[in-house]
Amino acid sequence: MSRTAERNPEVRELLERKYRHGFVTDIESDTLPPGLDEDVIRVISARKDEPEFLLDWRLRAYRYWREAREPSWAKLNIPPIDYQSISYYSAPGPAKDAPKSLDEVDPRLLETYDKLGIPLHERARLAGVAVDAVFDSVSVATTFKSRLAEAGVIFCPFSEAVREHPDLVRKYLGSVVPYRDNYFAALNSAVFTDGSFVYIPKNTKCPMELSTYFRINEQNTGQFERTLIIADEGSEVSYLEGCTAPMRDENQLHAAVVELVALKDARIKYSTVQNWYPGDEEGRGGIYNFVTKRGDCRGDNSAISWTQVEAGSAITWKYPSCILRGDNSTGEFYSVAVTNNFQQADTGTKMIHIGRNTSSNILSKGISAGKAQNTYRGLVKVFPRAEGARNFTQCDSLLIGHDCGAHTFPHMDIAHPQAVVEHEATTSRISEDQLFYCRQRGLDEEDAVNLIVNGFCKQVFNMLPMEFAVEAQALMNVSLEGAIG
């Protein structure tokens, strides 16, 4: 660490800030004791007044999960997880008392969101963002319902959608990520407690960006949220997701599922800034982020675009993917994954070309510092009937220091002879020349690293909505604290 940095109070504050979101909100909560069996699933389902079909589906998922094995193919070192020591349901406040409007929300909870910088309340209106905030397992408040309702857009907590729009839920739930998809998707299907639901009606451009913030607060709880977004024919929506968790020495499990359905001529843009607690400098604590995200371009000319900035979590296992089923459909994946200290990330995407003239674009930027391991894993699959399929993949890795690792596993499975598939990959180290050049102009080491890393990520940041781009940039800076010197 440079001497100016230590003397400069602003920089010192930044350095001492570490994980800014690591506070715990002290509120009463309704938490189930740890453990998982069919009774727990029945309780969750009953707490939420769920229809029979959903309980059935959960139980089938549970039975599948019980027989399934954790995936072991990722380049991750995952300590054994005791699924019986996790509590599968935690709601703020006594049970049966879910808040109906913002006024009923516990002010301490709103304060938490204030600290996180989430624009609820008036701030939300000014910022023009509709927010669904998920705290531990329950959706706390959804802003802007009425303005969205005017446009016919449904944006609500998942559990509300189950009550109010059971037909839509029944039709689409599990249609992109079936519970048999993988171990964590099965677990999520069995125990998910809330999440967000979005439906954009035909030929409607959603009048504002939709946004969900997830936060894990309770100790020993897992978070298993489920998001389902349906863009009906000719519609368009941009969705933002942010995540934080308090600092704890124990690891916590987060196994979410996100399903996107784009019908004919529909477009979905899904952006994530993931900042779960990454653990401390020695690798203690942190979130296990085992997430299944998939979009189905079900209709012709549909488009799904994933942009992710993955900065937090002790371990990330995540491959937001696109099934390009409709003719002329397009899938995009723009990713920045940064790992520092002992963080591990195995992330990437799958682009499954089924329809004709489908195209996909992958841009992955991995940054590794400290003793971290960062892996890009991708699959481009072209079906025999996918005439005119095109893919372009670019994977760049940046190493900071000498104890970290970057790995790239681009798999290709091309069954159409005329498919055009291009892949480029680079690995570089942050260069002494670049650092010195910046410092010679007056930037301290920390700022110089941030500047260079942000430049490296720029093409991906450019894909994020404005407010998120700023946040993402700030987040990168905090994540790489102490990465040099």
Partner: protein
């Protein structure tokens, strides 16, 4: 006479355990322009990099004062904030970082170090654009990544743009005139002339008489054999053109 702005005394520098500078002394006063010439590999860039605080240039003896302060005790950014500017012989590319953004970050870092407020973004842009126009630097290059895909001459002009915006007390320009076409050379020379004032000093490292004819240095030095082998006025340049460095190498040996 006032104290020198840059005071180098008996500086010894090793790179990878090989001594490159072996007791170099040089005084530069505010308002002066000094030229340093010398054969390839003599240690001119080594001197420049050492002054700027680059890792790997190990100072084994002597000292350097900038405006009376111990320069060698400071890290690179502190030296920059104290007013030392190095024009690089090979400016590096930084992809994705806009040229303007780096420059504004640099200006703000230096202003913060001086206890001043950050510069207003619009005012900065206006100033940077005006300087770029004066240096005939294509406006498009301001938005591009730092030196990203710049031609050799554009990189050098960009160094002068940074110099013009940062307004350092002491500018050490390492072969900024190399690789420039005749017009660019004139632009760079007039840039230097415009920045020349009573408070500022220049050290121009060069191989060519051309730039010195355009800038007229107060002093000319020959760096050979690890130290300043000879100093003189502008007339020394034409003498060198005639004799080459051969005599100095023999003297030094």
């Amino acid at each position: 006479m006032s104290a020198p702005l840059l005071d180098i005394r008996g500086l010894r520098v090793s790179v990878e355990n090989k001594e490159i500078l072996s007791g170099l002394s040089l005084e530069v006063r505010a308002g002066e322009v000094h030229a340093i010439m010398g054969p390839n590999g003599a240690g001119k860039s080594t001197l420049a990099q050492t002054l700027a605080g680059r890792d790997g240039y190990e100072v084994t003896g002597g000292g350097v004062l900038l405006d009376g302060e111990d320069l060698l005790g400071m890290n690179p950014e502190e030296r920059a904030c104290k007013g030392l500017f190095l024009g690089f012989q090979y400016p590096v590319e930084i992809p994705g970082v806009s040229n303007m953004y780096l420059l504004r970050s640099a200006v703000n870092a230096q202003r913060r170090a001086a206890g001043k407020e950050e510069i207003n973004a619009a005012a900065f842009l206006k100033q940077a654009r005006a300087e770029a126009a004066r240096l005939k630097l294509k406006p498009e290059l301001l938005k591009r990544g730092v030196n990203e895909g710049f031609s050799g001459g554009e990189k050098k002009r960009n160094e002068i743009l940074q110099l013009a915006v940062l307004k350092p007390r002491l500018a050490v320009l390492d072969e900024t005139d190399s690789g420039l076409d005749i017009d660019a050379l004139k632009v760079v020379a007039s840039g230097i002339r415009a920045l020349r004032n009573g408070r500022r000093a220049f050290v121009l490292i060069t191989h060519y008489e051309r730039i010195l004819n355009l800038v007229s240095p107060d002093r000319v030095h020959v760096l050979a054999g690890g130290s300043i082998a000879r100093s003189g006025g502008a007339e020394l340049v034409s003498e060198l053109e005639a004799s080459g460095y051969e005599p100095f190498l023999r003297e030094a040996a």
